[in-house]
Point group: C2
Chain length 210, copies 2
DNA sequence: GTAGTCTGACAACGTTCGTTGTCAACCGCG
DNA sequence: CGCGGTTGACAACGAACGTTGTCAGACTAC
């Protein structure tokens, strides 16, 4: 057979993967530039300089692409933050700070990712579902770490989970405000204050008691 | 002239206002039932059993209706919370608790309002703008009250504002989780813990110092 | 009753969308 | 070279949308 799939020196699978990444990247572009409503098969393909055929080659529909896009960002944030935590000193404050600094670094270095997580993801059913599940997972990791570090006087699981959700939602709001320019703070101050707020929130429930 | 505007015993202005309220209510229904994407001139009018003409009689376009809907809810939450604060004992904890309890009461008694504020509002440009401006206003009220009650050792304005944004975003996340059933807590416990988290967050920045 | 307004149902126009299909030009390989 | 897979441009279909217009019937005021 003449063609074994290779084209311009690249195998068929690799070309497909390239187009898939390109489509996800273009989706982030469209999302950031003109909002969720402006993301369509046509607009994404135009941004990627691809044809609709290659869209359907990689994704069943628009929702699948949007989910893949937000998943990519979520994964990057989670991996970066987790790596930073592992590399940080064992004190809880240092670890919290490391996680916040790492996560903030990802979205501050590419605003499109912040848009995908903080803005557009909230208004779209499947994307919101993804984001909330990631927040739950994040919360559970947090709970485990906190539980290990404060063996005495733990509030029950629901309260811990509520606290974890609280710090995630609050951080999203603060980060969005900073990135949009409404709140002017240096990166160091953002990280410092978020760290303080996290630690305060994780201590607050036990101060109230039951 | 035969017709001075009255119809079925109701003046023209009042009929118009009734239709306007009905359209806003129908918009909340559509938003809650099928999400932001399902809100269209046709769907809202069908829900309201009105014709498109009466839509354009009251609103320039869909965005105007959505803004009016979210404004209505925001106003109700703000008024209710403010009234509760005024009626509460002067201690800061009691006032915070009263505000949270009142605001939570509004959205828990009508889930459509929660959807409008917490879910759909986030993914829509103009609605998000409205929501964020309301959060800023709320934050400023909070800052004023806190500043009056803790005259010593105030963090600067940016940090206070960040804290206020933090508690608003965090509360939204927790309330959404509770209302969606992912987080099972009684109303009393939700209010208790949110109060504790608010107070903790408003104290946290000063513990870090600058 | 009669004129004038209000109401509701529906048609119609142009636009955008998702999705599929067609077709010439391009490229690697024998 | 020539064969077959690959690519890109574009047409085409039905559906939904925003928006405006038409028109018969219900109602009010004189």
């Amino acid at each position: 057979m003449p063609g074994s799939g290779a084209y311009r020196g690249i195998g068929a699978d690799e070309r497909r993967a390239q187009r898939r990444r390109l489509l996800i990247d273009s989706a982030l572009d469209c999302l950031h530039q003109d909002g969720l409503a402006a993301v369509s098969v046509r607009s994404v393909c135009a941004q990627a300089r691809l044809t609709a055929r290659y869209f359907y080659e990689n994704f069943a529909d628009l929702d699948a692409l949007l989910l893949a896009a937000v998943d990519t960002v979520l994964e990057e944030v989670a991996d970066t933050a987790l790596a930073a935590v592992v590399a940080a000193p064992p004190e809880v404050a240092a670890r919290v700070r490391a996680a916040i600094d790492a996560g903030y670094g990802v979205v501050v270095s590419d605003r499109r990712k912040a848009t995908a997580l903080l803005v557009a993801g909230a208004g779209h059913g499947p994307m919101r579902e993804r984001r909330r599940r990631m927040i739950i997972d994040f919360a559970d990791v947090m709970i485990q770490n906190i539980a290990l570090l404060r063996q005495a006087g733990l509030p029950d699981r629901a309260e811990l989970r509520a606290s974890a959700l609280f710090v995630m939602g609050g951080s999203a709001e603060v980060i969005e405000a900073v990135l949009s320019g409404r709140l002017r703070m240096s990166r160091a101050r953002v990280v410092d204050q978020l760290t303080a707020l996290w630690l305060g929130a994780l201590d607050a429930p036990s101060t109230t008691g039951g």
